[in-house]
Structures are given as structure tokens and as C-alpha cells.
């Protein structure tokens, strides 16, 4: 028996599901959804859970992460309840619930808080640069002197570990929420299976995001998604672990493989971010129709990080010392809040939640099979 929480669905409205209370339980959305499974019954069932206030059912469900917002359901809904946007809002909702720091909630429920947080992080990074930067050589570009390697790398690695730490702990919370049977009791699966399934599922889906292709006509989306993902991953690797080789005084050399990778990754990011921004402005796809402020912030910061990175490269290549230092400082001031806030606490966290949802789902299946 579930004790209802009448307030629960009102949160989803704030997270973008304005019309789902119109649902009258016809089930068309579930019937048309290309990825809902035989036994699962989303979006319908999740809508009913939410509408009635069955919060625990939502928290223990992995289904929202399986949906890629193709929007078929919204097109078919006879009551115009927009189930697709509801599924989207559930992902936002779950992101705020998995996160224990409260930042996620802050970012999702208050635009003001989000902007303030970004400005604060940028200001902190700015002051650190102001206090710790090396000598400013004005005669030629001496980036290595301006930003001593060790200091920058320590900063970059700190960001990396904080980020990974938060994401991992949130994933653990997700595990705790999800691994429950229909009566809310915790379930466990033998370690062997846990390892085997992890190897089988997580890397594959993390690296290929192949599930998107199950949605109708989503080939192009899938490619786009991969471009942004790999552009991002490459830049991340280049400018965090490999910082020693990328934060140099040298102009870009087109023969240097790292430079070439750098150029490709920035082009990929520029392209991906522009497509997404264009799509969200023009609302060309269902999933781009309900943009939340965090979506915009993510894309804007991504674009700014990329542009300031490119400009730094250009100034350096053409030998303008002061503009290079300033642009690089700006670059760091934008990249840091982007990485620290948007990635673990907002939209970008789905990179981790989606493959892990598949993984936990499979563990649950195993448990249920053993019960049978």
C-alpha cells in the first residue's frame, strides 16, 4: 500500500511538466512509445504515479532514464498532456533527488540561485588567478609563466576529483533509491552478477549511447549526440590530464597530433553546441521544445568555454601576450563553473545516470528472475 504525497506532482510542474495533469489514463502514449518494454508501462504509469503523489514509485523507477524524448507519445496524446515533457521533468526531478548536496535543487528550482552560483564560482576562480598568477611577460606570449603549470594542474585535478566524487556518490544514492522491489524493500544481487553486468552494460552504453537509435528517426540525433560527447570528452582529456602538453607557449602546430585533436574537439563542440542552441531556439525537435534554464545555461557556458578557448589559441598563435592571458583567465573562469555546476548537478549528469539506469535495471531483472 502506498501512502500518497499530495504535494509531489506540483514539483514536476516547476520542472517543466505543465500539462500532465490532463492525463486521463488512456495508455496511447505507452502503446506508441518505441522503447517502453512489455512489462513496463511508461509514460502512462509514471504519470499516474506522479499525479496521485506516489513519490516512492517514482524514486525507485529507472524508466525515466530509458526515454530519449522522441516525442511520439506527445504527438499521440488525445488530451495534449505532453507525456514526453513529463518524462523530461522526471529526469530533472530525479537528478535533484539523487544529488545529496542540494545544489541540484538550487539550480533546478531557482534561476536566480543558478546565476549567483555561477558568478560565485567564476569570482573564486578569478581571485585565485589574480592572487596566484605568475609574472606577466608583455614582450612575448609566456602562458606557461603567467599560469604556472603546477598551480593550474592542481586546480584542474581538484575540479576533476570533486566532480567525480560528487557524481559517484550521487550514483550510489541512485542505486539505493532504485534497488527496491514493488513493496519498497531493498534488494541485493550477488557481487559476481554486479561485476559481470557492469562490464557488459555500462562501458558500452556510456561510449556508444546506442539506445538513442531505438527511437524513431533518431539516427541524426544519435550522431549529434556522439559528436558533442566525444568533442567534450576529448577536450576534457586534453585540458585536464594532458594539461602539461596543451597549456604551452607554442603556437598551434598542425603537425602535432595533440593540436590536431584539440582542433577537432573544439570544432565538434562548437558545432554540437550551435546545433543544440539553434534547435532549442527554433524548437525543431520535441526534446528541444521544453528548455529549462539549466539547459540554456549549460549550452551557453559550453559555447563560451569553447569560444574563449579558441580565442586564447588564436591570440597565442598570433603572439598577443596580454589578450592571451586575459582570454585564458576568462576561459578558466567560465570553464570552472561549467564543469563544477552544470556537469554533476544539472543536465550533463545524465551521461552517468542513463547507462547506470540500464545497469540497475538489469540487476533488478536478475533479482526478480531469481524470485520467480
Amino acid at each position: 500500500m502506498t501512502y500518497l504525497v499530495p504535494q509531489h506532482p506540483l514539483q514536476l510542474v516547476e520542472l517543466g511538466a505543465e500539462r500532465f495533469s490532463r492525463c486521463f489514463n488512456c495508455g496511447n502514449c505507452t502503446a506508441i512509445c518505441p522503447i517502453t518494454k512489455e512489462k513496463a508501462s511508461y509514460p502512462r504509469k509514471l504519470i499516474r504515479y506522479s499525479l496521485l503523489g506516489m513519490e516512492d514509485k517514482i524514486l525507485s523507477s529507472t524508466d525515466p532514464w530509458l526515454c530519449y524524448y522522441c516525442g511520439e507519445c506527445s504527438d499521440q496524446c488525445p488530451r495534449d498532456a505532453n507525456p514526453g515533457s513529463f518524462m523530461m521533468s522526471l529526469r530533472r526531478y530525479l537528478t535533484t533527488k539523487y544529488d545529496w548536496t542540494g545544489f541540484s535543487k538550487l539550480m533546478y528550482y531557482s534561476k536566480k540561485a543558478e546565476v549567483i552560483a555561477i558568478i560565485v564560482v567564476a569570482a573564486i576562480v578569478g581571485s585565485i588567478i589574480y592572487l596566484l598568477h605568475g609574472p606577466i611577460v608583455e614582450t612575448r606570449v609566456e602562458l606557461e609563466t603567467f599560469a604556472p603549470y603546477l598551480t593550474t594542474e592542481i586546480g584542474a585535478l581538484t575540479v576533476l576529483f570533486v566532480l567525480a566524487g560528487i557524481l559517484l556518490s550521487n550514483l550510489y544514492r541512485m542505486y539505493r533509491f532504485v534497488m527496491r522491489d514493488e513493496n519498497g524493500n531493498r534488494i541485493r544481487v550477488p557481487l559476481g552478477f554486479m561485476i559481470r553486468d557492469f562490464i557488459r552494460i555500462v562501458p558500452l552504453h556510456f561510449l556508444t549511447q546506442i539506445k538513442i537509435k531505438e527511437c524513431k528517426d533518431r539516427q541524426k540525433n544519435w550522431i549529434n549526440h556522439l559528436i558533442i560527447f566525444y568533442g567534450y570528452a576529448a577536450s576534457f582529456i586534453l585540458f585536464v590530464p594532458l594539461l602539461k602538453f596543451t597549456q604551452t607557449n607554442d603556437p598551434f602546430l598542425f603537425v602535432n597530433p595533440l593540436s590536431i585533436l584539440g582542433i577537432f574537439s573544439t570544432i565538434a563542440l562548437l558545432y554540437g553546441a550551435s546545433i543544440a542552441i539553434y534547435g532549442r531556439v527554433k524548437k525543431t525537435q520535441p526534446m528541444w521544445k521544453d528548455s529549462h534554464s539549466t539547459d540554456w545555461m549549460f549550452l551557453i557556458l559550453l559555447l563560451l568555454t569553447t569560444i574563449t578557448g579558441i580565442l586564447t589559441g588564436i591570440f597565442r598563435t598570433f603572439g598577443f601576450p596580454l589578450p592571451t592571458y586575459i582570454m585564458y583567465s576568462l576561459h578558466l573562469m567560465i570553464a570552472a563553473p561549467f564543469l563544477i555546476l552544470e556537469v554533476p548537478f544539472a543536465k550533463w549528469s545524465h551521461l552517468a545516470y542513463r547507462p547506470f539506469a540500464l545497469y540497475f535495471e538489469s540487476l533488478k531483472e536478475r533479482y526478480l528472475a531469481s524470485k520467480r
Binding site: Y3, S21, K45, L51, L52, G53
Partner: protein, 651 residues
């Protein structure tokens, strides 16, 4: 008998209904052998136009003067064949019918031979009786063109308005002290911005002060005599204890020391023993509720116009009317104590109580305050008393409650946007105009719907907190909704004591007790009793639109009757042979309709006299009469005897 008897016999196949069992040919051949039968024929459907044509032509061709049809029940087609007989040029009462379907083929489907023999006997009996039939003519009465309407709800008011508009003198009675019925107590209605009271005011404008409409409140039916066109109705007018001099100053209520629950507000506020039922009540006169009055006489002392008379007695009055409309409406289903927690907590209320709470003229001036606080979570439980939800519930759908619930949910959401509203439903049947849009709007406004099949349980814990548990059908899971208020959506039931009215007027009812139409589809506002019509929710759940429409429809059917100069009734009534009547008056005592009196024809000789307007042809007197003086047309002793003798003989 002066003229030679020439009888025609017609045996119907009724498709295979009769012919599938009875050997029709045999019966026809047999009929030809019966005395005075000059022609006997068979046909597949005698009631069809060609079938009737056979009778009409044979009357001319064979110079028939009696017609016998062996077919179905007379209650079905006797009128058809009487008409055919008349159209053939004979008196329609020279026709006799033998029932060889209901009384023969249908009850003996497996005994074909026996059935054929029985059919022959039935034809033989009919022929024997036909030989003794005599021509009769219908009895005509002048129609009294006034009408009585029982019940002053919206349907009764609409009927009164329409009848008066056509110049018909109308008596409108209601047993309660005011007109208006249930609708007057409803708040904002569905589809319109009007409130229930506005509908009432709209109707009362044409009724109040109308010189053609006599309104009697506190008045009930005692008896009804007579028949279509000429009813003699006895009414009892219970005392109001306040007369028309009342100027509504209200001084009396101020001094009255007795306070009792106000029924207009469903007991949620108090009124005095002397009171005005509600602000716009009609008639606009205070009334004393004698059950709670202590006769302290305080009111009498203060009334500035001397309108109060505590010694008023019930008075009987008799009126004569041509037609009667029953518009007695419905009562809301009253849950038993404990049913859905009703009366166990004052946070469990009915939809009617909620309507009153949300009415700006209600006990809380339109604020939803229960137990002194404003509820945050509200659960409506629909189908209470309807759709067989509980063992005590009626099987039908009350039709109006879904829309009304959704309407109230929306009113609440608009007025208190932070309330969480759940509607526990069995089915959503928003059939009325605009109601489906309301349902849609409820969805948009975050009214949550939870579907149940078995009645939800209302839990009340020690602290008095409420919750509602139900098995949610769309999720197949049990859920419990914490709540501050439970609203029981009660359906409509037949009005209390409707059986008294029904048996007094002698009309039928359905299994649930609502009054029965003569024909659900063809005659929806008429009853099986000529001259009696039905309007509004007394025939089953209806909304206001339908109630008013049926009030108008009943008025129109009544008008069709009352606009006639005279009505004709079948002449199959009792008749006295004054020569042998001993004047014993046994029949006078026996007649259930009071149709017989004694008249003095010569000094000491008194004989029975039948009032043909009152006699219903039941035959009681003829059976009771010790001297055989009382006979009944169409069923005279000689005619019956001939049938009995025919039945006793061989085929």
C-alpha cells in the same frame, strides 16, 4: 335475437409464434363447423394491414355481424381489431378475441396436439360469447379543464408556468413549506454562471401572483377519485401558523427561544422554530415548525401585524381537476451512520453540504471551513449510493453527481489554489451539455482522479485524522490518500413516501421505486393511468435542464387532454337492472371507487345507481350482487355462462 347471426373467425399464425405449435389449419376447419360461423380463415399476421383488410372486406362480402380473432393477448391487439371491425362497418363491441398465444402456444410449446385442441376450445368459447355480444357505445364525459401538480420543484414550477400560459387553472401543491425543491439549494450550476437559486427565481417570477395558479404549500394528497378528465382530489393543508399578513420583519424569529438544525443547510447551521425556509422562499411567509415549537407565545406577542395563530388546524379541501402531474422529485441518498465514515467525523460531509458551504448565502458565507479550519487536502468519493458500489447502493447511475462533483472541485481549485483535490471515482459520466469540457478543465487544473471498483474505505484515527484507502484500478495498487475533508457524492433516490402518492393515484413504479412511464420511449411523461402525467426526477435521476424540459412536456400532454371538450372511455362498466335490484346496498359498500349510490325511485323502493364517470369496470359489484341485478357490459352473466358451457363440452 331478431337478426340472423353471421360470425367470421380469423386465426392468426403470429409468424411461427402460434403456427409453430398449433395446427392452425385444423383450428380453421374446426371453426367452420361451429354454429353461426359463416367464414373462417387463417393469416400469417392478422394485426398487419392486410390482415385487418381481410376482416373489413369479409364484413361486407359475407354480411358478418360478429367477428372473432384468435391471436395474441387482448391487452396487445384488442384495440387494433376493434378498430378494424368498426372500419368494416360494425359496432366495435361486436368483436371478441381468443388468446391462443400467451394462453396456448407459448405455454405448451412441446405438446402440439394438446395445444391445437386447446386452441379449438378457446375459439369455441369465443364464438359462444360472440353470439351474445351487444353493440355498445363509448361513454363521453366533459373534461374539467383544470390541473393539479404535485411537487413544486423546478419541474413542477415549469409545468405550472406552461399550463397557466395556456390559460389553464392550476393547483400547485408541495408538502414542504416552500416551493423550489432541491435545485434551490444548489450553488453554482454546471455550464452556466447561474446558481440553483437563480433558476428557482427565474421560474417563480411566472408563478408567484399568477391568478391562474393556486399554490398550496404544507399540503399533501389525501385521496383521488374519478378518472381522466374528472378527478376529485382531496388535499390536507397542514397549518403554517402564520398567515399572509406576515411582512417578513423577522421579529418573531428574534424572540423565539427554540433553536434546531436548519434542514435547508443540511443541519450545518441553526434556525428558530419560527422561520423563513430560505431567503427567497415562496410563499414569502414565515412558518412554524410545530414539532419543535414550545408554544411559549413569544412570537405572537411581538408580531406587529398579528399574523401568527398557534391554534390553526389542518384543513381538508377538495378540488376537481381534469389532469394530474406528479412532480415529486427525489431525495438525496442518505448514507447510514458509519457508511463511508458518515457521521463518525464532521470532516465527512455530503456533496449537498459542500454545495451549501460554497454558496455565498450558505452557513459559512461561501468559505470552506470545516471544524474551524480550511482543509488543505480534499477527497471526493463518487457513486455513494449509486452503481451498486455498496450492498445498500442503488444499481443505477444518478447521472448528475459526476458533473456536479467536478464543478465543485473546480470551484475549490479556483477559490483555494493550494488545495489538493482527489476525486475517487468508479466511472466518470459527464454527459450533460458542457460537462465533458468541465472534466477536461478539471484535468488541466490538477484535480486528480483515482479509479476504484470496490468502495473506498474511510479511515479515522484516534486523533481524528482522515485518510481514504482504495484499490486504484489504473495502477492495480492499493493507495491511501491523507485528507482533511471527505465529500461523499450522494446520488438520487425516490422521494420519501412516494409510495403513498403512487398508490393513491394508482400508478406504477420501477424496481427502485421511481415512478414508471406508460412507455419509456413513446410516452415518457404519461402513466398507465389516463390523465396522470409525470415530470422531473420522480421518474429517475435528471438534471435541471431535463427536469424543466419534462415539466414542459408533461404540461403539453396535460394540455392535449384539457383542451378537449370531452373524453371517451370504454363502456365496459357496471349497469343495474332496476327491476330486480333489491336495494340491499351490498354493492355500495363493495365498490372501491365509490361509484355506486342508492336512489329512491318510489316511496320505499330504492335501487343501486352507478355513476358512469367513477366506475372503472372492475366487476366487484357484479360478483357481489346477491340478486344478479348488477351486470357488467362486455362480461354479462349470460355471456360468461355461454363461455363456461362451451369450455365444458367436447371439441
Amino acid at each position: 335475437m331478431s337478426e340472423e347471426l353471421r360470425i367470421g373467425v380469423y386465426v392468426c399464425h403470429c409468424g411461427t409464434n402460434i403456427a409453430g405449435v398449433v395446427n392452425v389449419k385444423d383450428v380453421v376447419e374446426y371453426a367452420k363447423t361451429l354454429p353461426n360461423v359463416v367464414v373462417a380463415k387463417e393469416y400469417v399476421f392478422m394485426c398487419s394491414a392486410p390482415g385487418q383488410q381481410i376482416i373489413k372486406e369479409d364484413i361486407k362480402n359475407f354480411k358478418l355481424n360478429r367477428v372473432v380473432v384468435a391471436a395474441c393477448s387482448p391487452s396487445l391487439h384488442e384495440p387494433t381489431f376493434r378498430t378494424a371491425t368498426a372500419e368494416g362497418g360494425l359496432n366495435p363491441y361486436l368483436f371478441e378475441m381468443a388468446n391462443i398465444r400467451e394462453h396456448c402456444s407459448w405455454v405448451h410449446p412441446d405438446e402440439k396436439e394438446v395445444a391445437t385442441t386447446k386452441a379449438k376450445l378457446l375459439v369455441k368459447m369465443a364464438v359462444a360469447k360472440a353470439s351474445l355480444l351487444e353493440p355498445l357505445s363509448e361513454i363521453k364525459f366533459k373534461v374539467n379543464n383544470t390541473a393539479l401538480i404535485i411537487g413544486g420543484g423546478v419541474s413542477g414550477l415549469a409545468a405550472a408556468r406552461d399550463l397557466a400560459a395556456r390559460g389553464i387553472k392550476t393547483y400547485l401543491i408541495d408538502r414542504s413549506p416552500t416551493l423550489g425543491g432541491r435545485a434551490a439549494r444548489l450553488g453554482k450550476l454546471t455550464y452556466t454562471e447561474m446558481k440553483g437559486i437563480d433558476v428557482f427565481k427565474g421560474l417563480i417570477r411566472d408563478v408567484a401572483g399568477n391568478r391562474l395558479i393556486d399554490v398550496y404549500t404544507n399540503t399533501e394528497l389525501v385521496s383521488v377519485d374519478g378518472s381522466v378528465g374528472n378527478f376529485k382530489v382531496k388535499l390536507v393543508k397542514n397549518p403554517r401558523y402564520v398567515d399572509a399578513k406576515c411582512n417578513l420583519c423577522g421579529e418573531c424569529a428574534k424572540v423565539c427561544p427554540v433553536e434546531v438544525p436548519d434542514e435547508f443547510e443540511f443541519g450545518m447551521s441553526k434556525r428558530k422554530a419560527i422561520y423563513l425556509p430560505f431567503k427567497d422562499a415562496y410563499p414569502r411567509i414565515y412558518v412554524i415548525d410545530m414539532k419543535s415549537c414550545t408554544r411559549c407565545l413569544e412570537c405572537v406577542k411581538v408580531c406587529p401585524v398579528g399574523a401568527i395563530n398557534l391554534n390553526e388546524k389542518p384543513s381538508e379541501l377538495t378540488i376537481n381537476v381534469g389532469g394530474i402531474i406528479v412532480a415529486a422529485g427525489y431525495d438525496p441518498y442518505e448514507p447510514k451512520t458509519g457508511e463511508y465514515g458518515y457521521k463518525l467525523s464532521n470532516k465527512v460531509i455530503t456533496l449537498f453540504q459542500l454545495e451549501r458551504l460554497l454558496d455565498s448565502e450558505g452557513p459559512t458565507k461561501g468559505e470552506l471551513i470545516v471544524n474551524g479550519v480550511k482543509p488543505k487536502n480534499i477527497v471526493f468519493v463518487m457513486c455513494v449510493g449509486s452503481l451498486s458500489t455498496t450492498p445498500d447502493a442503488y444499481p443505477y447511475c444518478s447521472r448528475m453527481c459526476c458533473s456536479s462533483t467536478i464543478k465543485n472541485a473546480l470551484v475549490l481549485r479556483e477559490k483555494y489554489p493550494d488545495t489538493n483535490i482527489y476525486i475517487a471515482y468508479k466511472d466518470v459520466r459527464t454527459y450533460g451539455r458542457g460537462d465533458e469540457q468541465l472534466y477536461m478543465k478539471a484535468g488541466e487544473n490538477f484535480v486528480r482522479f483515482a479509479k476504484f471498483k470496490d468502495a473506498p474505505k474511510i479511515n479515522i484515527d484516534q486523533k481524528g485524522n482522515l485518510s481514504v484507502t482504495l484499490f486504484e484500478e489504473t495502477l492495480q495498487e492499493e493507495i491511501t490518500i491523507p485528507t482533511d475533508l471527505v465529500v461523499l457524492v450522494v446520488g438520487m433516490t425516490p422521494p420519501r413516501d412516494i409510495d403513498k402518492v403512487r398508490t393513491t393515484i394508482k400508478i406504477g413504479c420501477g424496481p427502485e421505486g421511481f415512478l414508471r412511464e406508460a412507455h419509456l420511449k413513446l410516452r415518457p411523461v404519461e402513466t398507465a393511468t389516463d390523465g396522470v402525467y409525470l415530470a422531473g426526477a420522480v421518474t429517475g435521476p435528471k438534471n435541471i435542464i431535463e427536469s424543466i424540459a419534462s415539466g414542459s412536456a408533461a404540461a403539453s400532454r396535460t394540455l392535449a387532454l384539457l383542451s378537449k371538450e370531452e373524453v371517451a372511455v370504454e363502456p365496459l362498466i357496471a349497469v343495474v337492472n332496476e327491476d330486480i335490484c333489491s336495494g340491499c346496498a351490498i354493492c355500495v359498500a363493495m365498490c372501491p371507487y365509490g361509484a355506486i349510490s342508492l336512489k329512491i325511485i318510489d316511496k320505499n323502493i330504492r335501487v343501486a345507481k352507478v355513476d358512469s364517470a367513477l366506475c372503472k369496470g372492475c366487476g366487484t359489484c357484479a360478483a357481489a350482487c346477491p340478486s344478479g341485478a348488477m351486470q357488467q357490459y362486455g362480461f354479462k352473466d349470460a355471456q360468461i355462462k355461454a363461455q363456461v358451457i362451451a369450455a365444458m363440452g367436447e371439441v
